[in-house]
């Protein structure tokens, strides 16, 4: 046990003190804080400065500029009774106004002309034309002495209600999309980067021949699991650092629980429950363990760092498969491929977790997938240990899959 803890301590401390790890972690944390800082600064700046629009109204149809300004909070309206084309042009070119809207009449029907350098503000035009339309209709109703009740009926809105029919009772994917995306991406990134890092450190131990020295001091399997756990702890430290960065952003008031924009998506943190966090930790740990064993075996098979990418290709393919099925589950957590993928242990950590967040996975599915995952890990433990044990003592020039049979043999 002491040896195991010594291995964990050494590799953990060496890992977190390494330049690469510190640089990557700093970049991620700074990117989160700086990114939200910039977004927050821009939104505040936008809130303070309003775009000026000149409305030239020469008709009897008045508009309610206060309603418009309260609806469009980035718009300020300046009313004028007349403006020549040259005056309009000068106002726009001198940046005195963002746009000029001229309301005129033709055959007692109001019409709107939009002048601007860039694209006209469609929302503003829509609101003005809506108000004019309504004024015009009421004008006609008054002139024609139409019963107000009839007029009311004429203005009745057609209601539209969208109902999504689902195979399973799931949560609104619009709400969970952000969380599922972030967690699926996070899990994928950590499995790929830390798994690859683990394999690399094992191959480096082999290629630098320090493994020869180590083998006499510590049992290979103690070393393998020590490295797996220390790499996991490094991943946890990085997750905590990312969490701290989000907390700083949150405490600074740059984002709210309900609205946390991330990479163009709205991350609704209020959907995060304790159960989901616990489930994430369970699936993340089991998923990491599963892939870490594969990566450890892969790292032990390669004798040179250059060979590692080709040897680890099957493992990368499995993670990519899980990632793509996980992405499918963002929109459709009940799709057949997602359901089936949920029960395949190599895909379970990412796929089942995304189904849990979407509310598509029931207790039976969670229990079954966790059990299958644990059983697979136990079986894999036997093979990965053998491959590791035989692999670290085997220095072939270039790894060939033909040698794999030799590596899984029992000594």
């Amino acid at each position: 046990m002491n040896q195991f803890l010594t291995v964990i301590k050494f590799h953990f401390l060496e890992g977190i003190k390494s330049k690469g790890y510190l640089v990557i972690m700093s970049i991620i944390c700074l990117a989160i804080i700086a990114g939200y800082g910039i977004v927050n600064y821009n939104s505040k700046k936008d809130a303070k400065s309003k775009d000026k629009y000149v409305v030239v109204n020469t008709t009897q149809f008045t508009i309610d500029e206060k309603t418009i300004e309260s609806t469009l909070d980035d718009v300020s309206i300046i009313k004028k009774s007349s403006m020549s084309y040259n005056e309009i042009k000068k106002s726009l070119l001198d940046n005195k106004s963002k746009g000029v809207i001229v309301i005129s009449e033709a055959n007692n029907i109001p019409q709107v002309e939009n002048y601007s350098i860039s694209r006209p503000n469609q929302s503003l035009t829509a609101l003005i034309s809506q108000q004019l339309q309504s004024k015009y209709v009421y004008n006609i109703i008054e002139k024609q002495n139409i019963d107000p009740n009839v007029a009311k009926q004429l203005f009745a809105q057609v209601t539209v209600k969208d109902t999504q029919v689902k195979k399973e009772e799931t949560k609104d994917t619009e709400k969970t999309f952000g969380i599922v995306y972030i967690f699926v991406f996070l899990m994928y990134m950590f499995l790929i980067s830390f798994g690859q890092g683990l394999a690399q450190s094992i191959t480096a131990e082999k290629s630098s021949r320090v493994m020869e020295l180590m083998l006499a001091k510590v049992k290979p399997l103690t070393m393998m699991y020590g490295k797996i756990i220390s790499t996991f702890l490094m991943a946890i430290v990085q997750i905590l650092a990312i969490g701290c960065s989000f907390s700083i952003v949150y405490l600074l008031g740059w984002v709210s629980k309900e609205k946390m924009p991330l990479m163009g998506m709205n991350l609704d943190v209020s959907e995060l429950s304790i159960t989901i966090i616990i489930m994430f930790l369970i699936y993340f740990f089991l998923g990491y363990l599963l892939y870490a064993m594969l990566y450890a075996a892969v790292g032990a098979m390669a004798s040179r760092i250059e060979d590692l990418s080709s040897v680890s290709l099957p493992v990368v393919a499995l993670i990519l498969g899980a990632f793509f099925i996980g992405m499918t589950s963002l929109h459709d957590p009940s799709a057949t491929i997602v359901k089936v993928g949920s029960y395949i242990p190599f895909f379970t950590p990412i796929v089942t977790f995304s189904r849990i967040v979407s509310g598509a996975a029931n207790t039976f599915e969670i229990a079954t997938t966790i059990s299958l995952l644990v059983v697979t890990i136990l079986i894999l433990n036997t093979f990965a240990s053998r491959v590791y044990l035989n692999g670290v003592m085997n220095y072939t020039e270039k790894f060939s899959w033909k040698n794999f049979k030799m590596l899984i043999r029992k000594d």
């Binding site: 002491n2 010594t6 630098s208 021949r209 020869e212 020295l213 006499a216 001091k217």
Partner: protein
């Protein structure tokens, strides 16, 4: 005392070690010899418990080594260190893995670095050190925990004469302290200078084992060495005496003293005046080449 009793190891159909038996007493140095692929490393890995024996047993002080594991110091032939880690950090790690406390490890690190004249490298990364100095660190890693059994595989390869001398002194100190040492090397002069006992492996089998002096004495011949001379060569050729030439010397294998005198008398009868001659037992190199090839 280390005892290997009839140990064998097979990899598929390939017999790596076959029925090897040997003993190394406390304070004794055994020279483990053999060509590449002779089974030396497999034997060492079985002693280190990295490979299981198919047959036979390995004992330490009369008990199975797996259950009664001594402190082992192993310097492998293929060496390496954690390049990005400082010398002190990795030596502390190696010491702690052997059950040494951090405090004791720090003390030992300082002592060993002083002993090998490299205290200034304590906080340097291993990759910043020269090959020779890295080798010293590797030797410290093997000895820092004061092992009872020391296995050194090619300890002098790649070292300059000064470092070779320092390393020899360290090994001598370990022998004086009564450590059990196995020395594996292709450099016969190294083996001859440290080992009183040898074990020569060939194709996994022991072909020569025992006290080196006894082996030489009982080897069946000695070398009569004469200075290279045209006249001598001509007489030896005429008389059909088998000889070999090397580095300006004529070497004639003779079974005993009287056979040597027969050759010397032959030269005397032909009026050859000899300035000097040597009558020496076969070298370990001769024995190795002869038995293995």
């Amino acid at each position: 005392m280390l005892e290997l009793n009839n140990i064998s190891k097979k990899f598929y159909e390939n017999i790596a070690v076959n029925d090897v038996s040997l003993k190394v007493n406390k304070g004794e140095v055994l020279g483990l010899l053999g060509r590449n692929g002779a089974g030396k490393t497999t034997t060492i890995k079985m002693i280190l418990n990295l490979l299981k024996t198919d047959k036979g047993e390995i004992l330490w002080n009369g008990k199975l080594i797996n259950t009664n594991r001594p402190k082992i110091g192993y310097l492998p032939e293929e060496r390496g260190l954690y390049g990005k880690t400082t010398v002190a950090n990795q030596l502390r790690y190696f010491a702690e893995l052997e059950g040494i406390s951090t405090k004791e490890a720090n003390r030992s690190i300082d002592l060993w670095l002083e002993r090998l004249d490299i205290p200034e490298y304590k906080n340097k990364k291993a990759e910043e050190l020269s090959k020779g100095n890295q080798q010293k660190i590797q030797l410290i890693a093997a000895l820092i925990h004061n092992p009872e059994l020391i296995i050194l595989d090619e300890p002098f390869s790649g070292l300059d004469p000064v470092n070779t001398s320092t390393l020899s002194e360290v090994i001598e100190e370990q022998i004086v302290q009564g450590k059990t040492v196995i020395l594996s090397s292709h450099r016969m002069e190294t083996i001859e200078s440290f080992c009183k006992k040898i074990c020569l492996l060939n194709k996994g089998e022991v072909i020569l084992y025992g006290d080196l002096d006894n082996i030489k004495d009982s080897y069946g011949y000695r070398n009569l060495i004469l200075k290279e001379n045209y006249e001598v060569i001509s007489i030896l050729n005429k008389s059909n005496v088998v000889y070999s030439l090397s580095q300006g010397e004529i070497s004639i294998k003779v079974k005993n003293d009287s056979e040597a005198f027969t050759v010397l008398n032959l030269l005397k009868d032909n009026n050859v005046s000899l300035q000097q001659f040597k009558f020496i037992p076969p070298t370990l190199h001769d024995i190795f080449v002869e038995r293995v090839s």
